[in-house]
Every structure is written in C-alpha cells, then in structure tokens.
C-alpha cells in the first residue's frame, strides 16, 4: 500500500548529542502509528521534525508524495495536539477550535457548523462559550483534540496527549481517543512513553531507543515477538537467559542454558549461535506439565501483585521470574517449586553482548 506519510533517514544532532540517527518509518493513509520509547529516545524530536518546528540535518519527510521538509509548519496542512494542550487562554473554546479554520479562510457559516460538529465529536457540545481555565484537564484535552481534528489535516500529530491526565482518566480516554481517531480516518502519529497506551491506541508501533528505530511492527507482534533485548525489556519481558543453540527438534530450537536444555520457537537461528532466551513471566505456570520446558528450583522471593504473585526461583545459579495466579500459589520462600512453560512462548533474541542478557534480567530485578 502506498505510504501516505514517509519519513526517510532522518538525522538530527545537537553538537555531540545525536537525537535522531537514520530514522525511517511509514504510515499508510488513515493509519495510527505510535512512536514509543523511554524519555530521551528522540520521539518528540521526531514529531517536531515532522511538524516542521525542527529541521533535520539529513533525510526528508514526504506526505502524499510531496517532499515537505523545507515547508514551514503553517503550510504543512497538519495539526498537533500538545502535551499541555496549548489552548489559547484568551480565546473561548469555540474560538480555539475555530482558529485553524480561520487560518484557512473558511467562510464563517461553515466555520460555525464545523466547530459545533467537532465539539460534539469529543462530547463537549455545550461548552463552546467557556474559557480554557474554566475546564477540567480532561475537557481541555478534548478541546485540543477537537481543534486539531476540525481542520481535517492530512497528518495529525499527538505529543503524549494523555500524559497530563490522571491514571483513571487516561485509561478511559485511550479507547475513546482511538475510536474518535479511527472514525476520523486521518493518518496519525502519536508519541507516547506508555506501552499500554501504544498497544491500545495504535495500528502500528515504532519503538525508538537512543535516536534509532529498535523495532517497527503491529502491537501484537511487538508484544509477542520483540526482536531485541531492548524491545523485550520495554514490553515487560523479565526473563533473559544466555544460551547456545545446539539443535533443532520437532520444529523447535534446542538451546543449552543454565537451566539445562530449553525448547524455543525457531526464529531462523542456526546451530552454534549464541542467543538470548526470553520468557514472559505470565507464560510460566506452576507444575511440571504446562509445557516442554520445566525448571525446578528454590523460591527465593515472593511478592504480591494483586491478581498474581511474582515468584523468583533459583536453580543452577540462574534465576527465573514467574507470575503465578494467587489462588494457585501457596509457595513460601525456601520451598522447592517446579514450573513449566511451552516452547511456543519461548523466544530467541540475538545475543547482543556477552552478559547483556544477564544485565537485562538483573536490571529487571532491581527495578522490582
């Protein structure tokens, strides 16, 4: 399919600090793409380049076949929702929403009508005459969204649109926002640091780290099949084991690890490869018959997390973290416990550096 938004090989550096390093991604018409990553990864810089507030050192931005990298922001036919909403405090809600239309010299009759429609779309129909300071955070966010949608931009940019809302409101707004965006059918780029938000709102996620694209795939793929240790760690994978591929067997790869031989999903790895084995804690079950892989060890920590208990097992000098449903879990520290999980839930990731995987899982433990 033709890319509506095509970002090519962007590079942006500030002295020695490289904010964007050869970043490329595309978005199809009507697609919602999330730029996800930890703070400092360059996602906001990337958004500002697309908007035209920053010029890249190299690379270009193409919209609908037109190279716009030299076009100033007010001529790009885009719209942006800012993290702090940036509502004009001296204008009423109506005038805020109408601003972009006025800039496009649309007749006042049509302006009034479209403003009303936009406000109703975000469920703020009766609040047109109010001023931003009289609205709640959630309402201000919707006004900002309405202001951006009403101009029917060719590309819509959202900079952490929900991060200023409290947790409960954020959860509610996520799904609502996706619905509104999908019904508007505008090519959208959303910047967020919240992986759950990206999973819920986006059609595709571009994961960034240190100015580079770490992985670009659908939410499902990113979650189930992270391609690097970084991606896996960002998506809450907690178990990383060093290993060597010693064979293929019945459609599974066999990897020699500290826990003995584990069977994993074949990922195009060859015998002899040094790899990192990654397992999600929620995929590990108590007992010995939950899958091809089984580990028995001593429980060294047990933390209550609401629906699950997070158990840490030590065996052969290596540790495994499993999330066991509370009702099924009666283990105490010092008990011996057997856990198992299927080969299908065992991923193989490239081994980036010796000990990298050990560092990754050690870091996970510290952060718990």
């Amino acid at each position: 399919m033709d890319a509506h938004l095509d970002v090519r090989r962007l590079r942006k550096a500030y002295g020695d600090f490289v904010a964007l390093d050869d970043v490329s991604f595309t978005a199809a018409s009507g697609e919602i793409v999330a730029l996800l990553g930890p703070s400092g990864c360059g996602k906001t810089t990337l958004l500002n380049v697309i908007a035209g507030f920053l010029s890249p050192d190299k690379g270009t931005v193409i919209v609908d076949g037109r190279d716009i990298v030299r076009v100033p922001p007010h001529k790009r036919d885009m719209a942006m929702v800012f993290q702090n909403y940036a509502l004009f405090p001296h204008m009423s809600v109506e005038h805020n929403v109408a601003f972009g239309l006025k800039m496009r010299s649309i007749s006042s009759g049509e302006v009034g009508q479209r403003v009303q429609e936009a406000l109703e779309l975000v469920q703020l129909g009766g609040l047109g005459k109010r001023y931003p300071k009289e609205l709640s955070g959630g309402q201000q966010q919707r006004v900002a969204l309405a202001r951006a949608l009403v101009v029917r931009p060719s590309v819509l940019l959202l900079d952490e649109p929900l991060s200023n809302l409290d947790a409960l409101l954020r959860k509610r707004m996520r799904e609502e926002m996706r619905q509104i965006l999908k019904s508007a059918n505008i090519t959208t780029v959303v910047v967020t640091h919240d992986q759950e938000e990206a999973l819920v709102s986006a059609d595709r996620i571009v994961l960034l780290a240190s100015g580079r694209v770490e992985q670009s795939s659908t939410p499902n793929e990113l979650y189930e099949r992270p391609q690097t240790i970084f991606s896996a760690r960002f998506m809450d994978v907690t178990n990383f084991l060093d290993g060597t591929v010693i064979g293929h067997e019945r459609g599974n790869a066999v990897v020699e690890t500290a826990f003995g031989r584990l069977r994993a999903e074949v990922e195009g790895c060859t015998v002899g490869d040094r790899v990192t084995v990654a397992i999600r804690p929620e995929n590990i079950t108590k007992g010995e018959d939950a899958g091809e892989n089984c580990v028995t060890g001593e429980v060294i920590s047990s933390t209550y997390h609401g629906p699950v208990r997070r158990i840490e097992i030590e065996a052969n000098g290596a540790r495994l973290i499993a999330d066991i449903p509370v009702k099924r879990c009666l283990s105490k520290i010092g008990d011996r416990l057997s856990v198992s999980w299927p080969a299908d839930d065992t991923r193989i990731l490239p081994n980036e550096e010796p000990g990298a995987s050990m560092e990754a899982s050690a870091a996970e433990r510290v952060l718990q």
Partner: protein, 292 residues
C-alpha cells in the same frame, strides 16, 4: 498583589508570642512613615485647603480659573500620554528581542537599555540638551545634510524625546515580564494550525501581553507626569509642566498653599487617568490568565 507574601509566611503553627515580637519590627518603619511622611502630607494638604488659616477652595479655584494653569495640567497629561505611547511602540520590539534571546547577546542589550535607568535624570537630560541644543549634535547633523532645522531644545517635542529615553527601560521591563510568561507551545500550536508569523503575533502573542502593556503604561505615565528634572532642563520655562509649577511656586515664589494645591491636583489627575485606563483594560483581563 503578587508582592503580597504568601509562600514566605512564617510557619503558621508558630506561637503567637513569636509573631507578636516579629510584628513589632514593623514599628520603627511605621513610626517613621507616620511622622515624616503622612504628617507632612497632611499638613501640606491642609495648607492647600486653608491658605489663610480658614477652610476655602480659593487655591484650587485660582488654579482652575486661570487658563495658563489649566494649560499646564493639560500639557502634563498630554506629554505623559504621548511619552507612554512612544515607549510602548519603541520598546515592544526590544522586549520581544530580549524575551527570545535570553542567552545569546542579551547581556549587552540589557545593559545598554536598562543601565541608563540607574543614572540620574539630570545627567540624561544634560545629554539631551547637548544633543538637541542650538549647537547640538542633531542640529549640526541636520544642517550638514542640508535640512535646515531649528533646535528641539525648549520645545515639547524635545521634552517628549527626552522623557521617552528616560522611561523606556521601565516599559521594556514590564513587557519582558509579560512576554516571558507566555507558554511557548502556544505559538507552535498556532503555527501548526496554519498561522504565519504575523498572525501568530497579532492573534496570540499581543493579546497575551496586554497585562504587561497595561502595567508598563501605568508606570510610565505616572513617572512621566511626576518627572521634574527632564522637562525643567530640556523644556525650561517654555514647556511648563505641573512639577515645574510646584517647583516654581514652592521654591521660587514661596506660595506654599498654591504649590501644595498644584501637587495634589497632579496626584489626583494622574490617579484618575490611571484608574480609567486600568478599568478599561481589566475587563478582558480575567480571561487571559495563562492556563497551566
């Protein structure tokens, strides 16, 4: 008032004895103000209403009844208003520059524009005398280009130029304060919605600086109206303003009741103009509070 101490309060849970003791620290200043500020003012005001010991309005009648004196009042107000306008027009771009270039090169500009504030008005007025005088730089320059020109010394225009110079820093400071409070993402929001540079300025920046414009205008107007040295030196007797009248009647003619009346009229007139202006602007001001 923003200078009202709110965050800086003493720990409220402190005992009342502590607060009483600290409150006593106010006494010296209060006594001083009462004895050497309020009381002399009261005496002076009384003097203007009782020139011969009995209550009467004759000093005020004398003032308002005479066309010359009325013209002086009008001149003071007029000069102050024009000066205010000039400082606003000339100062606004400076303020914009200072608020944007907060790091690079601003120190020099700040110094050049603000430092004159700390030099006595006498010195600055003298400078303008030199520039505007009959053999002054301006005349010499104009004559050498071939534009014959009288000199601006002892003219209202000269006084306005000098006053604008003296009070420009005050307006710039007020404006910079206001400009710096504007959320930078507002300009970007307007840009991405299609506003070009001019639109962003006229529709977003300018309206949001109205509090600063208003504050600066009040300050400059009041200072210009009460300024004595500059009109006295640059304008002299040819451009009499209210403070000059106070000086003449108070120190030269020694007609104190009348001098007091003139001073009080100046105070009331300035306060009136300020109040009218402030109320006119205050209307839309409440809606312009920056939203965070």
């Amino acid at each position: 008032m923003s200078t009202t101490v709110e965050n800086g309060r003493l720990p409220a849970a402190g005992n009342s004895l502590l607060r009483l003791n600290a409150g006593l620290l106010l006494v010296p200043a209060l006594l001083f103000y009462a004895a050497l500020f309020v009381w002399p003012l009261v005496l002076s005001t009384w003097g203007s209403f009782a020139p011969a010991g009995q209550l009467s309005l004759e000093t005020y009648a004398h003032f308002f009844g005479d066309e010359f004196y009325r013209s002086v009042l009008w001149r003071s107000m007029r000069i102050s208003a024009i000066t205010t306008l000039m400082t606003l027009i000339i100062g606004y771009p400076i303020a914009v520059y200072l608020s944007q270039n907060w790091r690079k090169g601003r120190s020099l500009v700040v110094f050049l524009v603000i430092a004159p504030m700390f030099v006595s008005a006498v010195v600055r007025s003298y400078g303008w005398i030199i520039i505007l005088g009959p053999n002054g730089i301006l005349s010499s320059l104009m004559n050498s280009i071939g534009i014959p020109m009288g000199h601006l010394l002892y003219s209202e225009a000269g006084v306005i130029i000098a006053l604008t110079h003296v009070f420009l820093p005050f307006m710039v400071i007020a404006l910079v304060g206001s400009l710096q409070q504007i959320d930078p993402s507002l300009a970007r929001a307007a840009q991405i919605l299609g506003a070009n540079g001019v639109s962003v300025f006229l529709r977003v920046i300018l309206p949001l600086t109205l509090p600063g414009i208003s504050a600066g205008s009040v300050i400059v107007f009041c200072l210009a109206a009460s300024g004595f040295v500059t009109p006295a030196l640059v304008g002299g007797a040819a451009v009499p303003v209210m403070p000059y009248l106070v000086y003449k009647e108070g120190l030269l003619v020694l007609n104190w009741p009348f001098a007091s009346a003139v001073a009080l009229i100046l105070l009331v007139a300035t306060a009136l103009v300020t109040a009218i202006y402030t109320f006119a602007v205050r209307d839309g001001a409440s809606k312009r509070r920056v939203v965070r």
